[in-house]
Each structure stands twice: as structure tokens, then as C-alpha cells.
Amino acid sequence: MDSIRFNFPAPVIDESVDRLRKDVRSFLQEESRNGSFRPGTDCWCAGIDPEFSRKLGQHGWIGVTWPKQYGGRELSALHRYVITEELLVAGAPVHAHWIADRQSGPLILATGSEEMKQSILPRIAAGECFVALGLSEPESGSDLASVRTRAHRVEGGWEITGTKLWSSGAQSCQYMTVLARTGERNEKKRHEGLTQFLVPLDSPGVTVRGIRDMSGVEHFNESHFEKVFVADDAVLGAVGEGWKQITSELALERSGPERFLSTFIALEKAIQQGAASMEGHQARVIGSILARIRALRAMSLGVAALLGQGQSPDVEAALVKDLGTRLEQDIIERLREFWPIQLKQNFGDELHYLLSDSLLRQPSFTLRGGTNEVLKGIVARGLGLR
């Protein structure tokens, strides 16, 4: 970053973007009416429904920015943005394909072999193939460069041994991108010698075990790799270059609408319920939340536009996630004043269910995808302090 001044270009919202938004909206209203899903909070992490992901794939709403030859539609990043935000605010169960659409697909596109692209990307776009992220480990969280999972060269490929922890949705995924050490560890150059692999989860030697989270959902996993063989072309990008890839992946991951809309559905229902009697203090609280959401959305769209111009707004992206995830939590804390959150059961009260579920899930918002402390460190580096 060369300046401390933040300027966000305007997103170019043309008719096709609006039309797409309308299409997605009416599909979701229809599905919701049919009872094909129950709107849930934090749906991009808690709502796993492969069948629903397949439906989205059939509508052509996954991998929309990818080349047509790989099952994409060559639409803009803004088109994808609109699809994702409509899915989030509807509370649709989108976790199964979320990571593959957002992160693994683009990674494969940028670094995968031609054969990998041809065989996997169209299946991801069809909502039939899901990918988990294998970054964290029992001994490696924020300090990701310390991963111990190792890949050794063997004839015709690599052999991977190690344990990955917290991988979201791995139990319904066919693949995992695994960050492993391929070179000797050097304390002075900690970021070297790391490589990413695309590992089929049905390979011999892989075990995936679900972990129940505090909200009662079993969405993340511990995955063990015992001498798992992968062929040479499972390497993503260049051997030893894994760290660079991860950092650019994370910039994409950090500024999307899921970083401030995880609890929007609870807010939506609360306002709908309170609208008829909204005044004074309650109106101020609600208005203040809505203003901040609007501002964050403007900023997040601005980052998307910067990415679209080929810039790398790492600092801005980190700021979106830091501010956005705190807001997602804050929304629930502020709604408590008017809608106390006591019971886990909802007795048919939809709003209460959404609020209590949001509360039970919110500690994760400021952790996953890089903690807010780590993000502030990125900002500080961007400003030249470290």
C-alpha cells in the first residue's frame, strides 16, 4: 500500500447484474416457500446440503466467473458477489460448495494442471464436487507456516503424512487442498518449502472425523493422512511456493459479503417483527446497525472492484473482515436489548431460533479465516509498522 488514503472505485452494476439478482431472489423465495430449506444463520458455514448445492449448480450459479471451457460462464466478479449475498441473506444452506466456489476453484484455475481443470472444475460448477481447506493443524493455527504435515517425494508422486484440523465441511467433500511441508524447515525462511496439494479424500490412508461445535453442528473435522499417495499432478502450482498462493487466496476470501452478513437473517426477521412499533431508541439502534452494514457493503464492493482492476488490496480486504466480523457479532449483542436470548428451543418462534443460533455460533466469526488479531497485523504491516 503506498498511501494511507482509502479510495474505493464504484462497482459497475449493469442490467445483467440486476437481472441475475432478481433471478436468484425469486428462486430462493420459491425454494423457501416449498420448504426445501429452513433459513438459518451463518448458513455458509453451518448449512450443509449437497442436494441444494446441486440445484444451484444446475441454475449455473456456481463458478460463474470461470472460463466456459471449465464449466464457468465468464461473468464478472460482481455477478458472483450478487449471487453470494442473496444466498447469505436468505439463510440458504450453501456450505457444501462455498469453499470450492470461492477459493479452491480459483486456486485450481490458477495453479492446477490442465487435466485437473478439465476434470474437476466443471463438476464443482455443477454443484457435484466439493473441496475442503486443509490448513490448520493441532499445533498450527495463526502460525500457519509451522505446519507439520509432510509430503515426501516417492516414485510417480508424493506421500503425505499428518493431521489437519478444523476443516469445514470435509465430511461431504471429495477433495481437500492440503498445505504440507516439502522442504526442510528453516527458522530464517519459515515461509519457504511449503506446497499445496489437491488430495482426493477417498484415497487410501485418509480418515475424516467430524467434530461437533458448540452450537451442536458437526461441520468441521479432523482429518488424518497416513502415508497417503498422490500423483505428481496433484501439486497445486510450484513445489515450495505454497505460502504465496495461500496469501493471495486469503485476500479473496477475506473481503466477501460472508464477512458481515452471517447474522443478517436474524436482523432481517427482527426488523420485520419490530417494524410496526419501531421508534425512538430501538429505531436508533437498528438504524445504526443498518448504516454500518451499508457502509461495509460499499467497502466490500469497493475491494471487489479493486480486485477486478487487478490490484491486490490486502490491507483493505483485511479491514473488511476485521470490521465485518465484529459487526456480525455486535448485531446479536445489540438485538438482545429488545429480544432477550435465553432458550435454545424456539417453540415455533423463528426469530428466537435465529437469534439463539447466531449467539451460539458467533465466537467463530472473528477466528475462522485468520483471527482479527492476525488481520490487524496485516494492516499494521501494510501501514509500514512492522
Binding site: 494511507i4 488514503r5 482509502f6 479510495n7 474505493f8 464504484a10 431472489r25 423465495q29 449475498e85 441473506v89 443478517f264 436482523l267 432481517e268 426488523i271 420485520q272 419490530g274 417494524a275 410496526a276 419501531m278 421508534e279 425512538g280 430501538q282 429505531a283 436508533r284 439502534v285 437498528i286 438504524g287 445504526s288 443498518l290 448504516a291 454500518r292 452494514i293 451499508r294 457502509a295 461495509l296 457493503r297 460499499a298 467497502m299 469497493g302 490491507v315 483493505e316 479491514l319 476485521d322 470490521l323 488479531e373 488481520l375 490487524k376 497485523g377 494492516v379 499494521a380 501501514l383 509500514g384 509498522l385 512492522r386
Partner: protein, 360 residues
Amino acid sequence: MEQTDQLILDTARRLFSDHSGAEVVNRAEIGQPPEALCDAVMAAGLPLAWVSENAGGVGGSLALGFNLIREAASFAMPVPLVETMVANLVLAESGLEVADSWAALVFDGGQLPVVDNGTVTGVVNNAPGVVSGSLLVVPVSDRGLIRVATFAFDSLAIEECESLAGESRARVILENAVPVQLSPVVDNMTEDGLRQFCALVRASQIAGAFEKITELTVGYVKERQQFGRPLGKFQAIQHKVADIAGESALANAAVEQAIRMLSEHPEPFSGDNVAFLPVATAKVVTSEGAATVSRLAHQSHGAMGFSFEYPLQQYSRRIWSWREEYGSEFYWSERIGKSVANDICHGRAEGGQVWDIVSR
């Protein structure tokens, strides 16, 4: 922004940094007017940024003007440039002649004075930019419709006072006052439209001040050493600076969006629903951020930031005063809450969804 706009903005930036600066600002506050700066600003025609070329102005776009305002705020400009720009735009929009002196919009977001039989009566409590010799531009209510009246500084009862930051504020008392000029009813100008416009002006100023505060703080913590290293090496300080940068980025995103929305709008003073939400958003986010930004910046600066000589205080005092003007975050957030609730109740949102309103 267009290329000519960028050119004007660059010129202004150069002019500000040549003629303004911490010392000029501080001296202006303790009684030494910044004459060279005043002359340069006038000579460059900046107060006419928003006046069309036909009417002798610069013909800059709305976006240019707001960016100029943001820039001026980041220099804590101790001259009523912003006030004069706004007053001149109101004059131009109402078909009156613009002055080549300083001008002030005698409007504080509260009730308008009333015009009856050609004379104006009312009190405006907190009018900004009313300085000796300036032309006073007073939006007045003619049975609920807006007209614009002008007065010479000397012709009215004026009680001069200062904002928290030492900027001129005045109570202007009009008692059957006879205007120099009185416009006919101005179409597409409403009291709320004026309030919204001025709120966005203040939001832009706060965003500009946030940028400067970020710059000052980053610069300071890189220089100042304690325990054998720069303060910026301490994580506690890094996190404060990151939070300041976050509020600054958010404020800018909100302000830029509102400016874009208003720029696409043919009638900037109409106060209609298209402009309301983005403008209110910008004022809420900037005003709310002022507490965070000033608290963290002062904490990071230690006692130095509390001294008059060091420039930080010029910005923290300004944002504390600007956040209250033309509606604080409390005022505008209440209006947002009520307006959204109202739209929901009256079926003005697709599918009855708050999201439909938020995402417009």
C-alpha cells in the same frame, strides 16, 4: 471524476499544502488571520467550484466539490471555504447572483426563518462560516416552500461564537429583516434536502479528517521510541492504528457511495428518498467513528497529542464538532430505523425484505 476535476483537485491540494499547515491553523485560532491562504484560495476561485461557468464559476461536478471538501478538511483549513462553496451553490440553484466575497449559508439544520411580505423573521442558532464581511445566504420558508434571501453581514444582529475547534459559528437574529436579494420559490429545494446536503458535507469533512489522523498517528508511532524501539513495533499500538485505519476506510467508503448517489441525482437539494439512505449512512458512520478514531489516536500519541502545538488536536476537535452538526449519528440512525420500518410496514420493499432496502 473527470480529468479536469482531478486537475482542479491537484491544484487545490498544492495550494493547501503551500499555504496552510499546522502553524497557520493554530495561529488563525489565536488571532492571526491566515491572509496569504485567504488570498490564494480566493484567487484560485475555489469558493466557486460548484458554480457553473456561465455564472462565472469553475463548473466543477458535485463529486469534485465534495472531494475538495474532504481535502480541505484534511488540512483543517482555517478559512470558510467549505461554507462559501455551499452558500454559492445554494445561490446558483436559486438563481441569485454569487458573490466574490466569503459567503455563509445561514442554516443549522433546524427551523428556517420565515418570509412574509418581503421581510424575514427568525433565529438561526449555529450558522457556520459567518465572518465579518461575508454575504449571508438564508434559506427561508414561505408557507413551507423554500426561497433564498441574502443579507449583508452588517445589516443583521449577529452573536459570534466558536465551535469546539474554534471555527466561527454565529447566532443570527432576523427581525423583519429586509433582504438584499430574495429569490422566488426554488423548485426541488426542501428543508430536508438542505439538511441532507449539509450532513454529507460534514460527513465528507470527517472522512477527510480521519485520513489526516491516520497519517499523523502512523507517522508518530514510527518516530517515537520507548523501551528502545518505535511505538509502532508494539502490538497493542499496531492494533489501535489498525482500528483507526478501519474506521477511516469505512467512512470513506460510505461517503464516496453517498457522493456517487447524489452526483447521479439531478436535484441535490430535493431531499428525496433516493439520496436519504446513502447520505444518512455516511453521516452515521462518520459521526459514530469520530469517538473511536479520536480516542485511539490520542492514546497512541501520549501527552504530545494533548498539546496545542501538535496538530492532532485540530482534527479531533473538528470531528467532535462536525459529528454533532446537521444531525448526529443518533439523529440520522433514528431516521434510518424509522424509514426502513415504515417501508416494511407499507409494502415498499420487495418481498417485505429489509435486505431489499439495504442493498439498493
